[in-house]
Symmetry: C2
């Protein structure tokens, strides 16, 4: 990573500065709870205006790397799990962060007419067909979850099972093929009990407790792009979130 600001770099200076500072924190060059250089010092150190400095610091603060104290200074956050900040993660990203090998079995990939409730969440007209993908999610080669995705793609857009097989990450396909970047999601979590079919697929007993997650995913323009329902095995999955005011 660069150690100085390059004014000819295409990246904005505040992003360059933010990543320099982030690096120093992640490398442990600056101890938790210790102050980073003051804004006036950074101005001189990197030859950047305070406006830009503050913008970089704002970013790092919102990402939880540092915190400010009026009149005292700006300090490194003492957090252990910086990587698992409040972030929107795909299933595979999620598992990788926990050190578990993700995997999946694609059960089906078809165009379906979904229930009205789901069409409403996707803000689609009644009668619209959407792409439905059913998958069994694996962690270290054993089932952890049962996932059903409904995707609101444009007429001329579709995804093949080959693409799903080879890429592994639906979100990566959305991003690379259609330039759709997931940016926000509403999620609910509740407890249910496994039906016979679900129990069979997850290799657990009928009536075993499951964690049910339902999520509506929004793109950059705030349009809903996916409704996804995941049934997690209660004994093998723990949900993690970071909340902020």
């Amino acid at each position: 990573m660069s150690r100085t600001i390059d004014p000819y770099n295409a990246l904005p200076k505040y992003i360059q500065l933010a990543s320099i500072l982030r690096q120093k924190i992640e490398d442990g060059e600056w101890e938790p709870r210790s102050p980073i250089p003051s804004e006036r010092q950074l101005e001189v150190l990197y030859n950047i205006s305070r406006t830009t400095i503050r913008e970089a610091i704002d970013h790092l603060m919102r990402q939880g790397y540092i915190y400010r104290e009026h009149g005292r200074g700006t300090f490194v956050s003492p957090q252990k799990l910086q990587k698992t900040l409040m972030e929107l993660t795909s299933f595979s990203e999620d598992l990788i962060k926990r050190g578990i090998q993700p995997g999946q079995i694609i059960r089906s990939l078809t165009s379906v007419l979904p229930p009205v409730k789901i069409l409403q969440k996707l803000e689609l007209a009644p009668g619209t067909h959407v792409l439905c993908i059913e998958r069994i999610r694996l962690g270290d080669n054993t089932p952890i979850g049962l996932q059903t995705s409904y995707l609101a793609l444009a007429e001329n857009q579709t995804i093949t099972s080959e693409e799903m097989e080879s890429s592994g990450s639906l979100y990566r396909i959305l991003q690379e093929k259609f330039n759709i970047i997931p940016s926000e999601a509403d999620e609910t979590l509740e407890v249910t009990l496994a039906t016979p079919e679900e129990a069979d697929l997850l290799q657990i007993a009928e009536g075993a407790p499951l964690l049910l997650s339902e999520r509506v995913l929004f793109a950059q323009n705030r349009k809903p792009i996916e409704f996804v329902k995941i049934l997690y095995r209660g004994d093998r999955y723990r949900y993690y979130a970071r909340l902020t005011r």
Copy 2:
């Protein structure tokens, strides 16, 4: 709510402007997906510099009220549940938002020596005593959760059961009495089954599925102030979160 910016007001201008704009959105004066006045127009409308305008808009954007599109404008977010943004909420706030009448039964309020695991999460030395509050949480007068809080207060700080009874909200006491403002939390959720004692307290069958939430709450200065464990009745509670990248 004020309709113009008052330069003599103690509140910063960008906060005044943000609340004016928020009001217009909540009142429906500006339709979802329609553009709000451009930054240059707002400059003239409210006689404020663009710096300040952008700061106000930044705030509203992070709170999910609006979104920006480079080259096109700034638009009102089409969100139905503005109130239940990704927010850190207390149990009572949470229920009120869902239209349920919160209540509680305080089972105990004592100084205890907690398990080492909890002391570690609170970043306290082994052997430290903390305030422990056990409560049964009610929704519309029937039990929905079993909550155990461990509070890392200073030597001279404590909370009485009278205060808990009268206020109802622990977070309000923390804020008003000790000036501690909860600002962040790490939370995990998983599924467990009710022990006989838990089943009895929650008035459900032994072995019924529960949603177990464990949360570490941090103050403004990033110091942990509370470890709280809540067992929710699986049949009466649903967890909601909004995730952002």
